[in-house]
Symmetry: C2
């Protein structure tokens, strides 16, 4: 297989306490990455979909962040309890989970109303 069907990056950036922007790791309430990896494997996606950690995805105010390529679907405020829905709905079913997507006016823009 030349490329993964999907490649999922879960932000693992951690900033020092008191930083101007928040960091995804400090907001996580559990191990989102491990949960997604285990569910993806259980769903038979091993070798087809890679779920892995990434550095800062630069959407810090909306973290914990996850981005799924090649579709470039951006999820924000993702909690471990959301992992099952992303895996079954999106990674298996091919339908992005709309309720978890970051609003378009917030994405990749310095004028995002949530940025300080």
């Amino acid at each position: 297989m030349p490329v993964f069907e999907r490649h999922v990056f879960v932000c693992h950036n951690e900033r020092p306490e008191g930083s101007a922007r928040p960091s995804c790791m400090s907001k996580a309430t559990g191990d989102l990455l491990t949960e997604m990896q285990q569910l993806a494997k259980a769903a038979g996606l091993a070798g087809k979909v890679r779920v892995q950690k990434s550095g800062c995805l630069d959407q810090c105010e909306h973290g914990p962040m996850v981005v799924v390529y090649p579709e470039a679907v951006w999820y924000g405020s993702v909690r471990p309890v959301d992992a099952a829905e992303i895996v079954s709905g999106h990674l298996v079913g091919g339908r992005p989970i709309e309720r978890l997507r970051v609003a378009e006016e917030c994405l990749n823009t310095k004028s995002c109303p949530h940025r300080g």
Copy 2:
């Protein structure tokens, strides 16, 4: 802008010495990530193309690894001196750098002849 035009992930995985698989960071001969980031910014790609670190991309035998989405172009054995060609040729010019691409039979497969 709803999504980056391109999103470049540079592997920064580091394994303990003596690990079964190599790690990209131990093979790097300089700061590939910084070089690519600086060249991308100088080329006017700030806000359009994000160049960032990632965890293990699972193509360890071919590292240092870089993957460019949404095209899913995989580069291997990338040295800091290659950064200029990737930035000007691919990220600006839109033409992947063929000499740096990982061979298709090696990519995302456990039967890659370079895996031990």
